[in-house]
């Protein structure tokens, strides 16, 4: 019971094993949801990352693995997991291409003609965020939630317990710093 809630508490207490267990549980659920959502929606369904995070949260709560009051902590963590799901998927796709076993729609984009560019953009953004995490961790967290989690300004403000105005200011600055890194 309350497995994720307990892991979140252990994580707050600094237990590194809890981080790994929490990541594995959330990764598995978000990955499964992404696969099932897109299977239902067909080949051209756009992945709505924020919807997946909401759905994962509700499933964990209804399964008794997470308390509703841990919503904020879960959302803060879930954008990091969503980023990993996406980046790993892109890397798998690129590896398949290089190995000559590329299945054209294993991971596609809305505009297939730009698929390779989009994959490159996602990986470069991931690497730029790694640099931003070292320079300004909060800006990186806001950018991760916005870009990979697809969270609204309001959701980010609630998750980080800051004002929407601060979120807008952080996001503007984060975009400029990321642009400097991506040049």
């Amino acid at each position: 019971m309350n497995q994720l809630t307990e892991l979140l508490a252990q994580l707050r207490a600094g237990d590194p094993e809890a981080r790994n267990a929490l990541f594995a549980a959330a990764y598995s659920e978000l990955h499964r949801l992404a696969r099932s959502r897109l299977r239902d929606g067909g080949r051209n369904t756009v992945l709505d990352t924020t919807c997946l995070v909401h759905e994962a949260y509700l499933r964990f709560v209804s399964a008794g693995e997470l308390r509703a009051e841990d919503r904020r902590a879960f959302f803060a963590y879930a954008s990091q997991v969503m980023r990993s799901v996406i980046v790993n998927s892109v890397r798998e796709r690129i590896a398949q291409k290089r190995g000559g076993q590329w299945r054209p729609l294993t991971l596609s984009t809305q505009l297939p003609v730009n698929a390779a560019d989009d994959e490159e953009t996602i990986l470069r953004m991931h690497e730029a965020l790694e640099a931003l995490e070292q320079a300004d961790p909060r800006l990186a967290e806001v950018a991760q939630m916005r870009y990979f989690g697809g969270y609204s300004e309001q959701e980010i403000a609630e998750t980080l317990d800051i004002t929407e105005r601060t979120v807008r200011r952080d996001w503007e600055k984060a975009r400029l710093l990321l642009a400097a890194l991506l040049r």
Binding site: H31, R39, L47, S89, L107, G150, R175, L177, A179, A180
Partner: protein
């Protein structure tokens, strides 16, 4: 040139000073402060006055490309 981590942290602090300014004040701020930070001067100019730059700062990343996973994904 891509900024280093310390340069990025410095640029973050400098943007705190300059972003609240209007265009004319940003230009004056750049004239005054850029010489102190020659390695960042171009980045700061492109960030603060994107309309005067050929770089794509105004088109900096906003959203994840429209991802879709096919049934084989997994």
């Amino acid at each position: 040139m891509r900024p280093s981590i310390p340069q990025l942290a410095l640029m973050s602090r400098l943007l705190d000073e300059a972003l609240p300014l209007d265009e004319a004040d940003r230009r004056a701020w750049l004239e005054r402060r850029s010489p102190e930070y020659p390695d960042l001067a171009q980045h700061l100019r492109e960030a603060l006055l994107p309309q005067e730059s050929q770089a794509a700062y105004s088109k900096s990343p906003l959203t994840l490309p429209g991802l879709a996973f096919a049934p084989e994904f997994g």
